[in-house]
Symmetry: C2
Subunit: 525 residues, 2 copies
């Protein structure tokens, strides 16, 4: 059979000069010293590879993709925020896996026509649903370059691992954690919170919980959080084997912040009942209304009561870099662990979250395992740190690069100003709501989340919910704006979470006028 | 102050035609109906944005990046697998977060010179350390496009969510799971295994474990796996509150597969001792030597003993698509849950793993929470499925796209052939080892992992380890090849895991000749 696998393979078509020097160097250090004497296989197929037969063709396609991408992001304001998918698109994504190849340019055409054209919408200036960042072009280049380099962030001695730890250090510094703190980039806030609570559980167990498990505890652990706490914390205590009942929700004050007196009372009650208060979760920015717990007060209580102090800062931790609003999250620097999300207010393209832990030793002791195939070395690839010793993942991608590139490009001060800008925009929107009856402000915005509704006189709560849901759906369906809805203390409302570097005040005035218009239209039917 | 925020912002510089029709449509549906009457803010700063002032400049940079990327991947064979970082690079990544901006082209120059130049090495044809895929260019374009679109895979009605579920369906079909099975793309195998074991724990608890926690169990749960099981399973049982002691390691046979008789005996012992056998983990491809447990036998035992049958298929599940070797993982289709890794043998750039669960209801019941801010809707963005109900994450990135594009481009049959090719290459390498004393084959390769060592006569095990570690380090430091090492039944050895679509037989003959050369060099010192 032909020795196809002996050929050198196609050359890339790109413009840069081949490094003849490097080639010679490699040839010199890699002579086939005794290759001729080695048995050659006769039965080996191929070899095949995923590399293209013609790099110049791939390069040309990639250039087209870049142009389309610039157009896609640069003109996002001209498109609807969201639009429903036609059935043809839906059907396309129900086809079975293809056995045979499709030319890559045809694959891209499908992506362009059927994927890019029907987005979630969160890169749009008028997307304010749930809570998402809006991405940035440099970050997308970062994801591309990370994938090109391909490094695995499980650990080792290579540049990506250093960038990863540098970004963790930057985030650590942003919230005022000490240099000795540790951290890990993860998929997002839910896992970052789970990491913090895992360390909390193990540290506060009073026995070797890794070995013995939760059943060995002589007192049930208790975790405290406000009744506004994100649902991921329920998942976390369930995952950790503590059970949902271990998470005690504490009532909130008129501003939806944890009631500190009620927290103290609950801790006392639980001690009396034979339970072990282990952890208090402070929320820096609740998902419903953006409330920020009194973190300094919680830090005090944690010290007094010997609790682990975890801050869920997925929404608000990074307010610490915003000059006009940093005071709102004062006290976060006293936490034992913090979860935060660069894919929110740093606008890193999805996904990247971060867990930070004040005590590096306790963090590592929660997750480190040292199997025989992952031993460290004094030199070589394995001479770096094993980063998998700080979380659930073994292999890990290079999500750090998109964060690093955007922070290098813009500087952290600008991200701080953008956070201030969003908070000011929420205040503007609240003012607009207040000055436009029959709109009703449901919660005074603490930061960048505005809850309001359209309330014509004399209608039941049920009818009001119908009307406001319909307003929300029509805003989405017309592509004008994306809001979501929620229910706060029994009142259903529309909710705008302005975590968006593309939003302008004119977008907010447009929202108000559209809601008023749709409200009239809907309530007349 | 100037109303800078009223200006329209710079236009993208790309070539495609502006859609005047779309613009008119948007203007028609989004008139500033009453905007003139709305209060305008006087104190709002900016607004600033992360978008560039000049898109044409960014486009030009992106074109340069594409050329460099093609060169980087296309010429990877000409570069060393890995090289140590100079101190100047190390220092660069210890700098604090910049407050001020840096021109984006300078940021990219740093990435090119200091990041791309010092990789982990796993895209290189002679990288066989640990166990990693080697990426592919189309996948990198996929990551770029995913970041450009920016969609959040937490759920909702948009194309990315459909692509995500289509890829899950494709992976489900590849391992022969029924159409009714569910799945979720996750960071990687460790989390995929954790998801499978979480469902197993909750289903086999015999009470409402989510609510009550592990302490409420009247019998301790037991999980069984071979003594070759990956370390992530220890992390998993620890995380789940079962404790490391809940994971019973069963001895392996001469081929490092779980000893089925010993497993049966252990289950019997545990029942007698009052414990509740809950789950057996079968490994399809151990990390040490690539051993594949007898999955059909484990499926039988699971039925007989009423156990959850989880398969850790991170390394080997996808052998099910390889025509010559699929028989090796027969029985995987009978599992209750499977973890697998598209960033291994599908060569998706890091990171993407997948958890599959046969019983969709049980899967969802383990993770679903329905907070008030995440209610489904009959229409609009929230009319899609909530994908966060199947795992730990709430927000999630669009890692599916890189898998989708590569599978569309090449077809699944080619990936199957590439797996066969790697397994044939491992057999070749083993033959080369056997025919070149003083090399010693430590374990007959089952699939694509070859464990061997350089064994000159008359040396102690300690000295042999020193010599082989030194061979490994010099291979890495000269950039010739990346192997890792491990210890199997007390014997330290070199380990080549050939999960690499760029490897050619000539790379393996080069490896042998270099190991022989370095072995002589090292053992003479």
């Amino acid at each position: 059979m032909p020795r196809r696998w002996n050929c050198r393979g196609p050359r890339p078509a790109s413009s840069s000069q081949p490094s003849r020097e490097r080639e010679r160097e490699m040839e010199a250090r890699s002579p086939h010293r005794s290759a001729e004497t080695l048995t050659q296989p006769e039965v080996l197929a191929g070899p095949e590879t995923l590399d293209p037969p013609d790099w110049s063709f791939v390069a040309a396609l990639a250039h087209r993709i870049v142009d389309d991408a610039v157009d896609h992001v640069g003109r996002v304001r001209e498109r609807p925020v969201w639009r429903p998918m036609p059935e043809t698109v839906d059907a396309l994504f129900r086809a079975p896996v293809p056995d045979r190849p499709t030319p890559v340019e045809d694959v891209y055409r499908l992506v362009k026509d059927a994927v890019l054209a029907y987005p979630m919408g969160n890169i749009h200036p008028r997307f304010w649903s749930w809570y998402m960042g809006s991405g940035n072009f440099t970050g997308a280049l970062g994801d591309f370059l990370a994938a090109i380099q391909g490094s695995n962030l499980g650990g080792g001695s290579h540049a990506a691992a250093l960038v990863d730890q540098q970004v963790v250090g930057w985030l650590r510094d942003m919230i005022g954690f000490p240099e000795t703190a540790s951290g890990t980039l993860v998929s997002g806030g839910s896992v970052a919170n789970l990491i913090g609570l895992t360390v909390a559980r193990n540290v506060k167990a009073g026995l070797d919980l890794r070995e013995e498990g939760v059943a060995a505890l002589n007192q049930p652990l208790r975790v405290y959080a406000s009744d506004q706490v994100h649902s991921c914390h329920r998942k976390a205590v369930e995952t950790l084997g503590l059970g949902n009942r271990a998470l005690r929700r504490i009532r909130t004050d008129s501003r939806y912040r944890i009631d500190v007196a009620a927290l103290r009372a609950a801790i006392g009650e639980d001690r009396t009942a034979g339970m072990r208060p282990a952890c208090v979760i402070g929320t820096a920015g609740t998902v419903n209304s953006g409330a920020v717990d009194d973190l300094s007060a919680l830090a005090e209580i944690a010290v007094e009561e010997d609790l682990w102090f975890h801050v869920d800062g997925c929404i608000g931790a990074l307010i610490s870099i915003a000059p006009q609003n940093a005071w709102r999250v004062k006290g976060i620097e006293r936490a034992d662990s913090v979860a935060l999300d660069p894919h929110k207010w740093l606008h890193a393209p999805f996904e990247v979250g971060c867990a930070l832990v004040r005590d590096r030793t306790k963090h590592r002791e929660t997750f480190a395992v040292s199997p025989e195939f992952l031993q460290g070395m004094p030199r070589g690839i394995a001479s770096g740190q094993w980063l998998h010793e700080f979380g659930f993942q073994t292999s890990r991608g290079f999500g750090a690069l998109k964060v690093w590139m955007a922070l290098m490009e813009h500087g952290v001060a600008k991200f701080g100003r953008l956070i201030d800008q969003n908070i000011a925009q929420a205040a503007l929107l609240a003012n607009l709501v207040r000055s436009h009856p029959p709109l009703e402000l449901i919660a005074e915005p603490e930061i960048n989340i505005v809850c309001f509704r359209y309330v014509p006189e004399g209608l039941s709560e049920e009818r009001l919910k119908e009307i406001n849901v319909e307003i929300m759906l029509r805003l989405q369906e017309t592509g004008v704006a994306a809001l979501s809805d929620t229910t706060i203390r029994g009142k259903h409302c529309l909710r705008a979470a302005i975590c968006n570097h593309r939003t302008r005040p004119e977008d907010l005035t447009l929202l108000i006028s559209e809601v008023l218009h749709l409200g009239r239209e809907v309530s007349q039917t």
